[in-house]
């Protein structure tokens, strides 16, 4: 149990770091969703399944979706890194 918790915390912190460091905004959003997923797993380990469900559905699913849609509206949703110069208008 403790080992699993430590692994999950490490993954969550790694994903949180990836949100800051990734240059690709879509990838950063995916990493932010992964942070929420890790937190949801922690909630399950702490025996709060209701909160875990909310965290997984809202934090990992809905907020990621809304952020990605906002990126698309702003015209920033590109699969390649913005600084590379080649923009595929997806």
């Amino acid at each position: 149990m403790m080992g699993v918790a430590i692994i999950v915390v490490a993954l969550t912190l790694g994903a949180a770091l990836a949100v800051l460091l990734l240059e690709n905004l879509l990838a950063a959003i995916a990493a932010a969703s992964a942070v929420s997923l890790g937190v949801a797993v922690m909630f399950v380990l702490l025996q709060a399944p209701d909160v875990a469900m909310t965290e997984a559905v809202v934090g990992a699913g809905l907020s990621g979706l809304i952020l990605a849609l906002a990126l698309r509206r702003l015209g920033l949703a590109r699969l390649d890194v913005p600084t590379s110069g080649e923009n595929t208008d997806a």
Binding site: D50, L62, R72, D89
Partner: protein, 231 residues
């Protein structure tokens, strides 16, 4: 300078929190209300999920406030994002690729069942109206991603949302008619752990689920639709 100030502030905050938590015995939070509710919830409300008993039975008014907040946020989002009918229809994206369309066709009924299950079993198992409503919204958003030209009717979504909100308040007012406090659970408690039990809590959660689902899918649709205006 500002970073330094932020760091100082954070350090102070951590110190204060540590000072508070340092006085508490580790792993034994002083949860007096929680223990009392856990004792009283089963005979009083009759919901197998104590969280639901608190959210809808003891703190129903807070849930109504939560719904109001969500409603205000979705309305504000709709206002900012503007009308879909005006410009969204014309520059809708072409249909997505085969994998996404086929995946949507497979996932849509599964998500629908999962969302409805979570909503209807809110008083028995973890989950409830909010979580299931979001799952329902996601289920109805998937076809929109796969085939952007076909979309749900905003009018119907508004009608469902309004009726669900009205039903929630009507169930609360029904308790007033019986002489109880607002949002006191109505009806017979039934068998503990059965699907039809704990009075009006499943109905309340159904209303919450429909309202949240309609609200969020309408919001997502607005976000997804008149796209291409800015890019």
């Amino acid at each position: 300078m500002r970073n330094l100030a932020t760091l100082l502030f954070l350090g102070g905050l951590v110190f204060l929190l540590a000072a508070i938590t340092g006085t508490l015995p580790f792993g034994h939070p002083p949860m007096l209300v929680g223990q009392a509710i856990q004792q009283a919830a089963k005979p009083e409300v009759g919901a197998a999920n104590v969280v639901t008993a608190v959210v809808l039975g003891y703190r129903g008014l807070d849930t109504l406030g939560e719904l109001a907040i969500l409603f205000a946020a979705a309305t504000a989002g709709g206002l900012v994002l503007g009308g879909v009918q005006a410009k969204g229809r014309n520059n809708a994206l072409p249909a997505a690729g085969f994998v996404q369309r086929a995946g949507t066709d497979v996932l849509f009924p599964l998500l629908l069942i999962a969302g409805l299950y979570v909503v209807i079993h809110g008083h028995l198992t973890p989950g409830g109206g909010f979580q299931g409503g979001v799952i329902l919204a996601a289920a109805f958003f998937l076809p929109l991603l796969a085939r952007p030209s076909e979309s749900l009717s905003h009018i119907w979504l508004s009608v469902i949302e309004g009726l669900a909100g009205t039903a929630f308040i009507a169930l609360g007012l029904g308790a007033l008619y019986n002489g109880d406090a607002f949002l006191t659970p109505l009806f017979d408690k039934g068998m503990f752990g059965e699907l039809v039990s704990s009075g009006s809590l499943p109905l309340l959660y159904l209303a919450v689920g429909l309202k949240v689902g309609a609200e969020l899918s309408s919001l997502l649709m607005r976000l997804a639709h008149d796209d291409g205006a800015a890019s």
